[in-house]
Amino acid sequence: MRHIISILLENEPGALARVVGLFAQRSYNIETLTVAPTEDPTLSRMTITTSGPDRVIEQITKQLNKLIEVVKLVDLTEGAHLERELMLIKVKASGSQRAEIKRTADIFRGQIVDVTANVYTIQLTGATDKLEAFIEAIGPNCILETVRTGVSGIARGEKTLSL
């Protein structure tokens, strides 16, 4: 099963390497990883999506917790949560395709953020499955390039991950 692990981490050099190294060293899987400082510049917030049997996920969270620089962590998939990913996608858009692609982008609430005579660059935000649905709708022949940020997640309601 897919899990979203959200980590509050000391914003120090080497901290990211420790997290990534742990996954490599113990042969855990990282599907996506995002990281950036929080409103408190001494802390970073990292979101990792991973998947595996419950036993492995339990080990992942325990091993992460053992890293000295990990302040707190939560498996967001254990409760109600929001997840978002941002994608920039460059697609061929010429002739009759242009209108069709524009319509599809509108349906997915995407925004065209850059245009040339033959190319649209579309920005799209949403959960991972929405981005994948869009990629499928556009079709592989039109896609020139995709860039995705990976998932960021946060718990719903009043729960927070903070010091």
């Binding site: 000391e10 080497g14 390497a17 420790r18 190294g21 036993r55 339990e58 080990q59 000295i68 010091l163």
Partner: protein, 574 residues
């Protein structure tokens, strides 16, 4: 306030931590620090002959005392040479501080002379690591490193110091912090009382209980509590390779070691038990054999300070995360106040069953009639000669297993071996680290002619500092454990397990200014041991003991089997 250079601050910080010896090797990036060493006498430096040995010396000291050993090496090859030593300590959760020099800050990343990314190379094998960015960070970093290394589940901590952090005329205010707080690090201080009560109730309801204790009891200094608990309950106890000595091996309730080369009775009792209390042990693959066949009827209570050790390989029923000493204290309190008592009748018949197992195979082995010593006999001789009181520092292989089986450890911190990583070359420097700090105690390195050659150069260090350890080398001319596996699993094809061109060991010892004794036959053993601990008490003695090359370590669990599936000799299987 005092103004000190970074190098002076480092040495002073070590002194503030009560460090007496630092084991190391100088080099370019650490010369400022070594100069600071030279100008004081409180902290002494021991110059090894290879940096790996420095790490093992520090490690041996830590295993004997529970205090972290300190290693200091230069950048590049100095640092990388400690890697095996750091990994050895990490795998067995041994506290250690490793200070590595680094090239000047502005050169980092330029592939400078003797530059290596020590932070990166050591990352998977340290509990934590620090890189110093400014000389004023040194004192606090050392304080944090000692705190992290020794608290919770202990482990090695690396401090990487670029040369420009230690420049003599770059002086800063120095004061050593009394306390340090790390907001993201809080090792558990106490077990969960509700869980402990549940565990006690389960334990008291057991018909066929087993107590399975590990190295965590020694690291957590809970040997007294363990002894009280085991005696109070009259339950049988088995100990892991790392846990030997926490409970006295010569006691009736001790079933010896369990696992791959565990005793027949310990492995049988584990397999047939209905409740297992695991204390500071981690269900290592060398203990459990095939996990899916592990102790099928047992409910398991597991006490460990590290939550990630719990249900990692074997799923447990009642986990308790906390320091073993305080958790066991609570066990004892609850047992004293609770109405429930152990089921005396069931425990009685359980003991009867165990005694039957003991009778079937109580560690006996066949002796030779041609005068050639069996390795087991040699270890038994050593045990008697030292009255069971020596520090036994083992290398890795058959001799290690024979020592674990036949040297009966009655006290904790006396059995020093690389159980987790299995590092050949560990025993001799570990023994040196202990002998240096306990000059009046008997310290013996039990080794083989394979292992000893992995750090033989330290004979020179022993001469320089007067470290009279005893080297007890079970010489069978083979890499014995490799040969045993080749005999058992590869139809006796001894691929690269025979060592030709061995040195003349007595001459080798003598050339370093030590004493060498050859034991070629059984009847020479006693005399050699007498000389070793008598006439040559204050000398390093290399006892080269010829032992039967054909001998195997038994019992040996059958691969992929259950705990009870064992070879008991070359011809007998359970």
């Amino acid at each position: 306030m005092e103004m000190l250079s970074g190098g002076e601050m480092l040495v002073r910080s070590l002194h503030e931590e009560g460090v007496e010896y630092v084991y190391g090797y100088p080099g370019g990036s650490l010369l400022h620090v070594y100069d600071a060493f030279y100008k004081q006498t409180a902290v002494k430096h021991v110059l090894v002959r290879h940096e790996q040995a420095a790490a093992h010396m520090a490690d041996g000291y830590a295993r004997a005392t529970g205090k972290p050993g300190v290693v200091m090496v230069t950048s590049g090859p100095g640092a990388t040479n400690t890697i095996t030593g750091i990994a050895t300590a990490f795998t067995d959760s041994i506290p250690m501080i490793v200070i590595t020099g680094q090239v000047m800050s502005h050169l980092i990343g330029d592939d400078a002379f003797q530059e290596t990314d020590m932070m990166g190379i050591s990352r998977p094998i340290v509990k934590h690591s620090f890189s110093i960015k400014h000389p004023t960070e040194i004192a606090e970093t050392v304080k944090k490193a000692f705190y992290i290394a020794t608290s919770g589940r202990p482990g090695p901590v690396v401090i990487d110091i670029p040369k420009d952090m230690t420049i003599p005329n770059d002086r800063h205010e120095f004061s050593y912090p009394k306390k340090v707080k790390i907001r993201s690090y809080a090792p558990p201080a106490k077990g969960h009382s509700g869980q402990i009560r549940k565990a006690v109730e389960l334990l008291l309801s057991a018909k066929r209980p087993m107590i399975y204790s590990g190295g965590g009891v020694i690291l957590g200094k809970a040997s007294d509590q363990l002894r009280k608990l085991v005696r109070e309950l009259n339950y049988p106890i088995t100990q892991t390779l790392m846990g030997l000595g926490a409970y006295p091996a010569t006691d009736r309730q001790s079933l010896g070691m369990l696992g791959m080369h565990g005793s027949y009775e310990a492995n049988m009792a584990m397999h047939n038990s209905d409740v297992i209390l695991a204390i500071g042990a981690r269900f290592d693959d060398r203990v459990t054999n095939a996990v899916n066949k592990f102790c099928p009827d047992a409910k398991i209570v597991h006490i460990d300070i590290d939550p990630s050790s719990i249900s990692k390989t074997v799923t447990v029923d009642i986990p308790i995360v906390g320091p073993v000493d305080s958790v066991l204290d609570e066990f004892l309190e609850i047992i004293a106040e609770i109405d429930q008592k152990p089921d005396a009748k069931a425990i009685d018949s359980w003991w009867k069953q165990i005694e039957e197992w003991r009778k079937r195979h109580g560690g006996e082995y066949e002796k030779n009639d041609n005068g050639l010593l069996k390795p087991q006999e040699a270890i038994e001789g050593l045990w008697k000669a030292t009255d069971g009181k020596a520090y036994i520092c083992s290398d890795v292989g058959q001799h290690q297993m024979f020592a674990a089986q036949y040297y009966k450890f009655d006290e904790p911190n006396k059995w020093i071996n690389s159980g987790g990583l299995g590092t050949m070359g560990f025993g001799f420097p570990a023994a040196m680290g202990i002998k240096l700090n306990f000059p009046d105690d008997m310290v013996v390195c039990v080794t083989g002619e394979g292992s000893i050659q992995m750090n033989i150069q330290e004979l020179s260090t022993c001469l320089q500092y007067g470290i009279p350890v005893k080297i007890f080398c079970l010489n069978n001319g083979y890499l014995g454990m490799v040969r045993q596996w080749q005999d058992m699993n590869y139809e006796g094809r001894h691929s690269s397990s025979y060592m030709e061109s061995l040195p003349d060991w007595t001459k080798l010892a003598e050339s370093y200014g030590h004493v060498g004794i050859n034991v070629e036959t059984k009847d020479q053993l006693q005399g050699a041991l007498d000389d070793c601990f008598g006439k040559y008490k204050d000398r390093l003695v290399f006892v080269n003991v010829a032992v039967d090359p054909e001998e195997h370590v038994y019992p040996m669990q059958v691969p992929m089997g259950a705990m009870r599936d064992m070879w008991l000799s070359k011809t007998e299987r359970t």
